[in-house]
């Protein structure tokens, strides 16, 4: 049990768990920090389907848009994407868990929105000076 133990085994284990926890928290912090740093920069939402970028949408403060992306084959279905106030999100989908809808609207590069059943991923990229290099994610 988790209590001050004298034996080495449990000490090692607690240390390992704490190290993993710390590393994860640090990674999370760095990720969020990096995402918030680029807050003012221009953003582009890149929509990937089956690993291919199918659409790039500049996220400008004023734009509002709603459109639907259909997927076919063994992952058939639809996702309705919504853009508003410089944010992008999935407003409706016919996937079973609807986690992509629950992920809400994003405007930072910290987390991509993914609809795993439809193999659809929305990722935010900071538009910097060298967009060709930025696009190389493979």
């Amino acid at each position: 049990m988790i209590k001050p133990c004298k034996d080495k085994k449990s000490l090692c284990l607690i240390a390992t768990v704490l190290v993993i926890l710390l590393l994860a928290a640090a990674a999370l912090g760095i990720q969020l920090h990096r995402a918030s740093q680029g807050e003012t920069a221009a953003k582009t939402a890149v929509i990937y389907q089956d690993g291919e970028p199918i659409r790039r949408i500049p996220l400008l403060p004023g734009t509002t848009d709603t459109f639907t992306i259909e997927s076919s084959g063994d992952n058939a279905g639809f996702n309705t994407l919504q853009i508003a106030d410089g944010k992008i999100g999935i407003s409706d989908a016919d996937c079973p868990d609807k986690l992509c809808v629950k992920m809400g609207m994003i405007s930072s590069a910290a987390y991509p929105i993914s609809c795993l059943p439809h193999k659809l991923v929305i990722q935010i990229e900071d538009t910097k000076e060298e967009p060709p290099v930025d696009a190389l994610t493979q």
Binding site: V17, L21, A25
Partner: protein, 179 residues
């Protein structure tokens, strides 16, 4: 002269078969009940993984082989019931990696450290799912979920591990594994 039926090593142990079937049912029930709970966080892969209690339980009471059998049957039946073949891939990758890590750690550490076995199992499970997510979406950026999934794995793994630990403490072994 033919050997007596009950001395035949290939004879199916009916009692054990029934018991494993019951445990599969329990795991499946827990799994189904858990799927009705609202997701803990709006990120894919974050869940309590309560049916892992059954796997931990079986590791403590019987051979790893039996625990693996129950786990595989549970995963297969669960995705048949849910009717999603996509989730089968995720469940299998996560479940098998989790099981491999848990079986190894349990063999090394034993009953006393079941909480840690569970934590590392949960971590392995989440790692396996990210690997499949990268494989399916072909986007390495799925790794962005790794820190969150690691933290959630430690928390949920602790929870299920504690469940198994206290279950073991309060349920007499004769009831749990009456063979």
């Amino acid at each position: 002269m033919t050997p007596l039926p009950n001395k035949d090593p290939k004879k199916v142990n009916i009692k054990k078969l029934t018991l494993l079937a019951v445990y599969t049912t329990i795991a499946l029930t827990i799994f189904t009940a858990e799927s009705f709970l609202p997701p803990l966080a709006p990120l894919p892969g974050i869940k309590l993984g309560l049916s892992n209690i059954v796997t931990l339980w079986l590791l403590m009471h019987t051979k790893a082989r039996d625990a693996l059998l129950v786990l595989l049957m549970r995963i297969l039946l669960a995705s048949f019931f849910a009717g999603q073949m996509v989730s089968l891939l995720y469940s299998l990758a996560g479940g098998l990696l989790c099981f491999a890590v848990m079986a190894l750690l349990f063999w090394l550490l034993g009953d006393k450290y079941i909480v840690f076995v569970s934590i590392f199992g949960a971590l392995a499970h989440n790692l396996g799912q990210i690997a499949i997510a990268i494989f399916v979406t072909e986007l390495p950026s799925m790794l962005a979920y790794l820190p969150v999934l690691a933290i959630s794995g430690i928390l949920t793994g602790t929870f299920t591990g504690l469940c198994a630990f206290y279950l073991k403490r309060h349920l007499p072994p004769k009831t749990a594994w009456p063979l």
